[in-house]
Amino acid sequence: MSSTIFMHPASIFITAALLMPLLKRLGLQKISLAATPLVAWYVLGRLPETFGVCSYLGMELTFGRVDQMTYLFLHVFVVMALIGSLYNLHMSDPLEHSAAYLYVAGALGVTLSGDYVSLFIFWELMAVSSVFLIWFRRSRRSSGAGFRYLLMHTFGGLVLLAGIFLKYQMTRDLSFVQVPVTAMGLPDYLIMAGFMLNAAVPPLHAWLPDAYPEATVGGAVFLCAFTTKTAVYVLARAFPGSEVLTVLGACMALYGVIYAVIENDARRILAYHIVSQVGYMVCGIGIGTAMGVNGACAHAYAHIIYKALLFMGVGAVLEMTGRSKLSELGGLWRRMPLALVFTVIGGVSISGFPLTSGFVSKSMVVAAAGESHYLIIFLMLMLASVGTFLSVGIKLPYCIWFGKDSGVEAKDPPWNMQLAMLVAAGMCFLIGCYPQYLYRLLPFAVQYEPYTVYHLWETLQVLACTGLGFYLLRKILAPKPVLHLDLDWFYRKGSRVVLWLAANPVSRINDAVGEVYKTVGLRSTVATARVLSSFDKNGIDRFIDGSARHVMIVGEQLRKVQTGKIQHYIGAAFIFLFLLLIAFVLF
């Protein structure tokens, strides 16, 4: 056990996170930021199939369970940790790096867990460490958003825990394995709901577009990669083939896209696109065929890279200009050309252009819907991909880098941010041009060829005509500086209902209780006081007076025994001490 626990990739990140303040003082922060993911990468290739098995409170815990699906997610998480670390390399605060690494450790731990108990531990580590990536923005908005994020994830964690408890009570088995669709019970639905909250499945999604845009520039790059994708992993592991996931996935793909079309804040647009893209993955899991699950995993891999690239590009603009609202930006192409190029590469990847990663991953999920003859689902996913290109592929770069010149001073970001974006952009093309790189990591054997004439033609037509549509709608789609309500309204304004309840009914009840106390309570208090006062007079006073009288008598006697001889005094003192001792012993 002790030898294998250090093999756990999470332990590498946890160690680095804990040592980060010290490493900073030693001037080793930058080296360790680059080295930690590389060490984890080295360990990753050498993981045994099972490790870290221990027994705790009569339960068998498995901290390491590695198979093809685990390996794919570990692979992309470590790559992402490297890209994110590079992007954040210039930031001096060691605590922000610590939070990011604990968060990565949580994601790796969840992915490796072979049972629900160790999964839950890492699940909560993820929630608690990631909230600091929001709070470190150190603004009033981010502090509020962070608290709401934490509360939602605590709620999700509790639902998951309730499911785990019930499962243990009913089956005495907490191993984290696939649940047959026909054998789903209440515990499984609770666990699924807990997972869905992290996957941002509507109606449990509002925390994501609420919190991510308020995170730090570098924090958002980490946030967009891990929480939702670990949730995709656990859903794919436990609940492939659940029809509810197919329907919800397709709905969320469209839901995110429609919000993204009307939103103004660039990072909120990207956040809604996480909801939308994770929708494809959830849908693929719901379809449940080898193609569907493969598609979900492939899309998770590709999505982590291009979504991080998009958050890095827009984050670079925020870092250099202090702005992220489309209505306040424009005309930056001359001042931040590299950020433009990288963001557009992210944009065409998410839209599924041929030769980019989205083309070879998203199409697997869509093809899975086609193979299973879900026509409506198929069309919903295609429509979502139209909206994706419309809002992220065209509108977002157009409004930031072209359009009306905002006159904002800016220049391209530091070298490390550019390098991180270059690595991510390179991977988007690598996966797109050489899909075997991704396909050989997938859990099932791949019988899918993305580059067919029909698929190419279909994609190009859809994209070209979406471009035409944007051209026609460009005036209508102009960004407006407004806020759009989402389901977080219920708990953000709901807190007002609680306040109103506290101010009105609760305080009225309080007043009524006060009134009752005045009439009933006061009378009884007066009666009690009378009893107490008579006890005071007759009991305590008499006793005190009595003792005073005694003191006087004793004084008189003392006066008599004052002989002036020292031996008498000493003797008297001894007798007094002796009597005092007896008094203490007796009373």
Binding site: R141, V257, I258, Y259, V261, I262, G370, E371, H373, L375, F378, M382, L383, V386, G387, L390, T452, V453, Y454, W457, E458, L460, Q461, V462, L463, A464, C465, T466, G467, L468, G469, F470, Y471, L472, L473, I476, L477, K480, P481, V482, L483, H484, L485, D486, R492, R496
Partner: protein
């Protein structure tokens, strides 16, 4: 100039769709020529107008909506 190239591209893509072979189509729509061009255009207009003309007016609030507490 750029605009003309783009429009020409859209038209060429749609026109050549008639000649593109269909391998084992899953749905009837896969066999309709120019379907995906129309889908892209109509889908884009529907999403854009649905969002901007229906949802946004219903859901939009002042940016300080949640801060005035």
């Amino acid at each position: 100039m750029l605009k003309k190239v783009f429009f020409a591209g859209v038209i060429i893509l749609a026109a050549l769709d008639v000649f593109v072979p269909r391998h084992e189509p899953h749905f009837a729509i896969d066999t309709i020529p120019v379907f995906w061009s129309l889908f892209g255009l109509v889908g884009c207009l529907v999403l854009g107008l649905l969002g901007k003309w229906l949802l946004s007016p219903l859901l939009k609030r002042d940016e300080e909506y949640y801060n005035n507490e």
